[in-house]
């Protein structure tokens, strides 16, 4: 009975997941973040090097300062202006998805974003400097206005191209030349739209779109996403989707990534300037403390349990198969082999342990026992303990993961034991049946 109810629910869930996964805007957003990922990794490596814990022991204060100054523009040129890559990526991939020239879409998105960016900087002393682009507007602070502008400009651009409002060159004109003319009218119209928007906002409303969207959209959304409750809800959905055998992150993260990444960028900016971290929840919190412990559902503890404490052949075999990938946070063998998918006995530890671990981690960080992740991007395939140390730039970050590992182990153990006992019983009755059949045969012979 239970199984059929689960099957029915799964039948409802699969098409919804499919629609979310194939949604044009979400998949463009996913690709755009993917584009910026290797670039942010480079910036992260430099931040890690700048903040190695023993540097002050081997270098004098003066040379350490000089070293940090010398490499300091690397994080700023990569993660510091991440919005530039996101804007270009959205413009490119969205245009491409409509089968219009992607590179022009990217360039138009970037130009539109720049048209809305105030080239003014107000210094701490209240002085206004003209003809500069404030770096923070190209980073965390400009993230949402960037995403909105990129989507809007690429939509306008491709709409005009599809309307065929383009200059056509006679055959015989070299394709590259023809292409630049084809793009001319759509580019001019799209950029005119954003120029007019900027004129209205700056002249009539006496502000700029960056500040407007930051206050009206980004601040409230990011504020909401940085809370513990919102994080638990997101994790709950990821776990439920995986329970039905669907890739939870692909679906949930495409909605949450803009928020989580913005929080990470804010963390990193503050960290490189002051050494402190403002937000506990960020992209790295999710990656390191929910996925980075053996994969979704923190299953490395489960794998150890299968290997060392279970007696049934089937569970030992899953354990052996899962340990290699599990160390690198790939856990499909556990999810489909144990299996976790649609297994009612597993549902409780599967949902409960990430919730408990997230709460423990959150409070360990909020009372200052463990520093929150600095915003340095650590690839999700880096093993447990190492990724915790790298993400927080502190040994405590790795130790917290080991504590969490024990928590997961304790929550899972009784449930695994029940399944193990059932498996052992099945296996021995199978073996008995096999032996009986054989002895029966030998008598007959």
């Amino acid at each position: 009975m239970k199984q059929t109810a689960l099957d029915k629910f799964s039948q409802i869930l699969v098409p919804i997941a499919g629609r979310l996964n194939n949604n044009r805007y979400l998949s463009v957003l996913r690709d755009a973040f993917m584009l910026s990922f290797p670039i942010t990794i480079f910036g992260s490596i430099v931040v890690v090097l700048m903040n190695l814990p023993f540097l002050d022991l081997i270098m004098s204060a003066g040379s350490l300062e000089a070293f940090r100054h010398a490499v300091g523009n690397a994080p700023q040129a990569t993660m510091g202006i991440m919005t530039v890559f996101i804007v270009f990526g959205i413009g490119y991939y969205l245009s491409k998805s409509y089968e219009v020239e992607g590179v022009f879409g990217g360039a138009i998105a970037l130009a539109s974003f720049m048209l809305l960016t105030p080239f003014l900087l107000t210094t701490d002393s209240g002085e206004t400097v003209a003809n500069v682009i404030p770096l923070d507007r190209l980073g965390a602070k400009g993230m949402f206005v960037g995403m909105i502008t990129a989507f809007a400009s690429a939509e306008i651009y491709r709409w005009i191209v599809h309307k065929e409002l383009t200059i056509r060159m006679p055959a015989g004109v070299p394709p590259a030349v023809a292409r630049s003319f084809t793009a001319l009218i759509p580019v001019v119209i799209t950029l005119t739209v954003f120029l007019l928007i900027n004129i209205v906002v700056t002249q009539v409303l006496q502000t700029n779109l960056h500040d407007l969207i930051y206050k009206a959209v980004q601040e409230p959304l990011v504020g909401l996403g940085s809370g513990l409750v919102a994080t638990l809800i997101a994790i709950f959905f990821i776990q439920i989707l995986w329970f039905f055998g669907l890739h939870g992150q692909i679906i949930v993260n495409s909605v949450m990534d803009p928020i989580w990444n913005t929080l990470s960028l804010e963390n990193l900016n503050t960290y490189t300037q002051t050494g402190t971290v403002p937000h506990i929840i960020s992209k790295q919190f999710i990656e390191t403390y929910t996925v980075g412990m053996g994969g979704t559902g923190m299953t490395l503890a489960v794998v150890f349990s299968l290997l060392w404490f279970m007696r049934s052949r089937q569970m030992k075999q899953v354990g052996k198969l899962a340990i290699g990938p599990g160390l690198f946070n790939v856990n499909e063998p556990v999810i489909f082999g144990l299996p976790i998918v649609m297994n009612p006995l597993i549902l409780v530890p599967w949902i409960l342990s990430p919730m408990v671990v997230t709460i423990v981690t959150y409070y360990a960080m909020s009372i200052g026992l463990v520093p929150p992740p600095t915003g340095v991007a650590v690839p999700w395939t880096v093993p447990i303990f190492i990724n915790g140390i790298m993400a927080t730039n502190s040994l405590a970050g790795g130790i917290l993961q080991l504590v969490n590992l024990v928590i997961v182990f304790l929550i899972w153990f009784p449930f695994l034991k029940v399944i193990d006992r059932m498996n052992v019983k099945n296996e021995s009755s199978e073996a008995q049946a096999g032996a009986m059949a054989q002895s029966g045969q030998s008598i007959a012979q």
């Binding site: 098409p15 499919g18 692909i250 790939v330 499909e332 489909f336």
Partner: protein
């Protein structure tokens, strides 16, 4: 020679299976091309394949990929969950082979 394409979210978990399937194919004396890609590459790669298998966690990709695959008459199927979890190269290889019918 069969050309079997496996698709999952990032191509990582299926790559484990690819190794096992190749080993099985070799053990029965077949020279097959088996490779894994991420979901965004699947559409462009499938033209080169004879059959496409999808990781069960991406089962919602099926209808999308099937549309593209129909252009080339390539069968698309979701990998059996249990076989996927146990990285059972033989079972998944046989699933691919049965989708291809008698084709070599």
């Amino acid at each position: 020679m069969k050309k079997i394409l496996l698709a999952c979210s990032s191509g990582m978990s299926t790559s484990l299976l690819v190794g096992k399937m190749k080993a099985y194919a070799k053990s029965i004396g077949e020279e097959d091309e088996i490779w894994a890609v991420s979901q965004d590459q699947a559409k462009s790669e499938l033209a080169r394949a004879d059959v496409v298998l999808i990781g069960p966690q991406m089962s919602f990709l099926k209808s999308e990929l099937q549309k593209e695959a129909d252009k080339y008459g390539i069968p698309v199927e979701v990998i059996d969950m249990r076989a996927y979890g146990m990285a059972d190269g033989k079972a998944v290889y046989e699933q691919a082979a049965s989708l291809l019918g008698g084709r070599k």
